[in-house]
């Protein structure tokens, strides 16, 4: 239903029955128009988004608080800390590139990536296909969609989904303040571009992004 101009003026009433209670009531047309406006917000008739200003939070409760939206994002069940807020949700694509230090940088035969970001954590999936190369630089796959958090070495990691290489193990280390992951074997040694020459791998990596409050 189209929006209706609302007369917000309340009607003053006086109780003459002897109760001594006076007050105001809302005009029936006012109430109808108000409810129509609320209805418009939810059925899409109103083009403008529903906005709250002045630093107001939005709370949805069912007995106890269930959802609270404030400047940190979406919080659940009475949480107040920024670290407990769902601050973001986004999906998209990214393109892996070579950050190994090879000169010139390798051009991957194929490189595709997707990401899913929930709050301050991001999951990236990717496939990289190496060209034929004898380069012995340690593999660093760049192009990550978000900057890795500035944190200690144990933040983040990943797993190998599949490779046609004959290497015996892979670990994925997101590098702090950068947008690449470093590949190691299970003994901590570096996996080189030559190790992956002509081969490909599929992997998933999780890391926290720069700016994370926890």
């Amino acid at each position: 239903m189209a929006a209706t101009a609302i007369d917000r003026t309340p009607i003053n009433v006086t109780d003459d029955s002897g109760s001594g209670t006076d007050g105001t009531i809302l005009d029936a047309a006012w109430v109808t128009a108000f409810l129509d406006e609320i209805d418009d917000l939810f059925d899409g008739t109103t083009a403008a988004p529903f906005r709250f200003g002045g630093g107001l939070a939005v709370e949805v409760t069912s007995g106890a608080e269930v959802i609270n939206v404030d400047s940190h994002g979406l919080k659940f069940f009475g949480a107040t800390a920024q670290a407990d807020a769902l601050s973001d949700f986004e999906v998209g694509s990214w393109t892996p590139n070579d950050q190994s230090g090879a000169s010139p940088p390798l051009t991957f035969a194929a490189a595709t990536g997707r990401y899913l970001k929930i709050g301050y954590g991001v999951w990236v999936t990717f496939r990289v296909h190496w060209p034929t190369t004898s380069d012995t630089n340690q593999i660093k796959i760049g192009g990550l969609p978000f900057t890795v958090i500035n944190a200690a070495a144990v933040e983040g990691g990943g797993y190998l989904r599949f490779t046609n290489s004959n290497m015996n193990g892979y670990t994925f280390v997101p590098y702090p303040n950068a947008t690449y992951v470093v590949l190691h074997d299970f003994s901590g040694g570096g996996i080189t571009n030559a190790n992956q020459s002509g081969d490909y791998l599929d992997a998933t990596v999780y890391y926290r992004v720069s700016g994370s409050p926890f």
Partner: protein, 95 residues
């Protein structure tokens, strides 16, 4: 009429080395109404590695607003600090 276009719809300067995170939206429109939108992301750093050499990142192909942000936040000191951090190579499993 169907139309497909790309636009940078989100920019952020992130972290101590002023990484510039860029989200590019690919938008499909039909007679002015948006049918679909997808996102792709990339991040620019103040220096770019070529072999063992780092050079100032070339942003000449970037949109004007991105170039303006780069010019504003990427000082020589920031670039040097970024390279030093990337060259530490001390982030190894179990470290």
């Amino acid at each position: 009429m169907l139309e497909k276009r790309e636009e940078v719809d989100h920019l952020a300067v992130v972290g101590p080395y002023k990484a510039i995170e860029i989200r590019t939206a690919t938008i499909v429109m039909d007679d002015g109404a948006e049918l679909a939108r997808t996102s792709a992301r990339r991040v620019l750093h103040p220096r770019t590695r070529n072999g063992q050499t780092w050079t100032d990142t070339d942003v000449t192909g970037e949109p004007a607003d991105v170039q303006a942000i780069c010019a504003a936040v990427w000082t020589a000191a920031i670039g040097d600090a970024f390279v030093a951090a990337m060259n530490r190579d001390d982030v190894t499993p179990g470290a």
